[in-house]
């Protein structure tokens, strides 16, 4: 009995693969819409989080103040923020009775972008802090000798470490696009409005349509791999050109 169930499950994998290929080759409208929304939500979240997290990480790398080690430990610890907890906090902030309820963005893609940005901010900031602090060891004397201000040093280091920092941004993107708990809570998984790849996979799994859930999972993994591959190729070419 157990063996029969195992065999049946194993047969679902090739079925799912065929379904995934079919969905992709037929350019299924629903799939494209869900995948597009996933990309849009995670893309905006990554850009917004990076705009804040990269300068913050650079500032923390160069600043010296009492309690700095505590802030670094807290930031590193927040890399493992539970998505459902973040989702719940954003939900409370954005709900009608919450302090930001007037914005009226709960159960919209905007709320999902906010939740993902909050979730990945510590990841990008903590990795950026480490990268910039390591570089500061090499650059410090030269930049101080130029009489560069703190802000000029930060900008120079962020620009010079751009290729390494792109890995931190990609790590944030990976976490954002694979995340399900927070977007489920603040987005509500509304068909055609806030349904993204991960929430669609969760829904199909709960409905028992495992081949479709697996197929969506394969599409999601393919998307993430392709984006990382493209970023890696661009990074390698740029590094060859700029040293």
């Amino acid at each position: 009995m157990q063996a029969c169930r195992y065999t049946a499950r194993m047969q679902e994998i090739p079925q799912s693969l065929a379904l995934a290929l079919g969905l992709l080759s037929s350019l299924d409208g629903t799939l494209l819409s869900i995948a597009g929304l996933s990309m849009r939500v995670s893309g905006v979240a990554v850009v917004a989080a990076s705009l804040l997290a990269l300068p913050f990480g650079a500032w923390l790398a160069l600043a010296r103040f009492p309690g700095r080690q505590g802030v670094i430990a807290l930031l590193n610890g927040m890399m493992g923020l539970p998505p459902v907890v973040v989702g719940l906090l954003i939900y409370l902030l954005l709900s009608r009775a919450g302090p930001l309820g007037a914005l009226g963005i709960l159960f919209t893609p905007a709320a999902m972008m906010v939740a993902q940005a909050v979730l990945i901010f510590p990841i990008i900031a903590a990795l950026a802090r480490q990268v910039i602090e390591d570089a500061w060891g090499e650059y410090r004397e030269q930049l101080v000798s130029f009489n560069a201000t703190r802000s000029q040093c930060m900008r120079a280091l962020l620009w010079d470490m751009r290729f390494t920092l792109s890995t931190a941004v990609l790590a944030g993107f990976g976490r954002a696009i694979a995340e399900v708990g927070a977007v489920m809570i603040v987005g509500g998984n509304i068909d055609g409005v806030t349904r993204v790849m991960t929430t669609a996979i969760a829904l199909e799994t709960s409905k028992g349509d495992l081949p479709l859930a697996l197929a969506l999972g394969m599409v999601l993994i393919t998307m993430v791999v392709l984006i990382n591959l493209a970023a890696q190729l661009i990074k390698s070419a740029a590094m060859k050109q700029h040293g």
């Binding site: 004397e141 009489n147 010079d160 290729f163 050109q241 040293g243």
Partner: protein
């Protein structure tokens, strides 16, 4: 076009009983000297004598744990802007050769950075490399970029920390010629080396350091012909000092 001579504004620099400790180790002790405008000062000594630490103290990258440093000007910003330093291993920013020079000029608040950078690269003979990535240049070229970067700032005093330490004779010659040209423009040179031949070629005055102490501070001719100390005599004879 004739170069404008840089007038002295912040020199002389006077160091009195300068000392530096790193943890429990005394790296430099009781160093007193005066850097006069227009001079070529070579800080000579074996490895570990404290040459690089002395340069960093004079340039303000390190704070002395003992003694005082006094510039003739009390204007802190003017003093900082009157100096430049070239390191043994220059840090090249991850951008083009031209942009490396432009960065130093932008930070110093220059108005026409493009033209000033081009002029500085022209002086060191690297205009043809202006658009190349600085990090992809050879060690000798990178050191010349560092000199162009420093020269572009028109410093009154230029500190050089073993700028030719890992270069071949041709690259060393190019660097020495550039240093001579910078000096001819009125810039005071303070340079460390452990290369006796280089000290003979470049020095007006030799500051000989040994085990963190300034053992000898004499005109170059006197130093090489009649050194006062046993350590300096041994060093000139090529004996191992430790």
């Amino acid at each position: 076009m004739a170069e404008a001579i840089i007038p002295p504004r912040v020199l002389p620099l006077t160091a009195e009983h300068l000392g530096f400790r790193a943890g429990n180790v005394t790296v430099l002790s009781d160093v007193s000297l005066v850097i006069a405008p227009g001079s070529r000062n070579i800080v000579l000594g074996p490895n570990g004598a404290g040459k690089s630490v002395l340069m960093r103290l004079l340039h303000g990258l390190l704070t002395p744990t003992r003694g005082t440093l006094r510039w003739s000007s009390a204007d802190g910003l003017a003093v900082r802007r009157a100096q430049a330093m070239v390191f043994q291993r220059p840090v090249m920013l991850r951008r083009s050769v031209r942009e490396n020079v432009e960065f130093a000029l932008q930070v110093a608040g220059h108005a026409d950075v493009r033209r000033a950078a081009e002029a500085a690269l022209d002086r060191v003979g690297l205009v043809q490399l202006a658009d190349r990535a600085a990090r992809l240049c050879s060690g000798g070229e990178q050191q010349r970029i560092a000199l162009a970067r420093a020269w572009a700032l028109q410093p009154e005093v230029l500190f050089l920390d073993e700028p030719t330490a890992s270069l071949d004779p041709a690259a060393t010659r190019a660097i020495e010629e550039t240093i001579a040209a910078i000096h001819a423009q009125g810039t005071t040179i303070v340079m460390t080396t452990h290369d006796l031949g280089q000290a003979r070629r470049l020095a007006d005055r030799v500051l000989f350091l040994h085990r963190g102490r300034l053992v000898e501070d004499t005109p170059a001719k006197v130093f090489f012909q009649l050194p006062h100390s046993l350590e300096a005599s041994a060093f000139i004879r090529g004996e191992l000092l430790w």
